[in-house]
Amino acid sequence: MDCEKAERLLLGAFDGRLKAGEMIWLQDHIKGCPACQKTEQEYRVILSHLKKVDTPGPLPYFKERLLAKLQEEEKALPVLFWQRWATKALAFSLTAFILIGAGFLVFRTPEPQETSQVEALLLRDENPFTETTNILEAKGPDNGNMMLIFSSMEEKDSARR
């Protein structure tokens, strides 16, 4: 457990992040622990090599090349702007068209249905059977029944026959 703690503190020590008390504890531990001395040595070697990894630096005229590229990108911007605008406008128009169409279909008021003769008579507060009774009394019952059947066949809506 002490060596695990020592390893953690060791790396903090390399970064200069230890408190005084922690540093003293670490130094005392390492003095008496060959394994931790080896660990310290190994970390020193590795970290020194990481710092030494040198890089070749950017290619010449980095800033000049970059500014030239930026000028080209800025020239292309208006075209790109209009392309993006047109695409967005088209998408918006299609969405609006679909929404308005759907709204129209869902919320439209139903067309008024024609009232039947019976309904019209009832609305005028007249007896719908008056005509039927007259037909039945005027002719014989068989003729009356046939006239009733034929008159109902004029009704287009089959539910009303």
Binding site: E7, V45, I46, H49, K52, V53, K69
Partner: protein, 186 residues
Amino acid sequence: MIRLSQEGDGEAFGLLVERYKTKVFNLAYAWTQDRTAADDLAQEVFIKAYFSLPKFKFRSEFGTWLYRVALNHIKDYLRKNKNKMKEISLEVLGEIDLTAENVSSRQEEQAGERRKALVQAALQRLPEKHRTILTLRDMQGLSYEEIAGILGLSHGTVDSRLFRARQKLREKLAPYLGREGGEYGL
């Protein structure tokens, strides 16, 4: 300088480029190990940064923000170009003792190159988050606070992640540390 750049002042932006180009390039090179690719990436980072400047609200340091842009761009590039990445084989590097000392200055120079390559090869084999934090701290020399800002982590997480990353790197380099009779040494 940043406000002038936001207003489209090319000269002001040029000064920002001069200040940060090496850092951005080094970050890209740490990942690609290819000078041309790193140069291209660094240019792309600055172009991205230029057009994103209006979004920079001074909530963090400009350098922190720029590093964030750079890291995200480099990671996107790596994802798209996994197959093209130069991976150095640890086996090809041969027998190396990171701790041994060399006799002549020429041998030392050659050994130095191989040691660097060895450390780079081991670094490449680490998980991305460990490689990132080691690059930022041990190669770029950024502070814990700067790293926390760039990666959006707490100081505690930076501390523990850095510890774990260094441990893993040491595990990878263990076969090459303090080998007896080794020809090359750190």
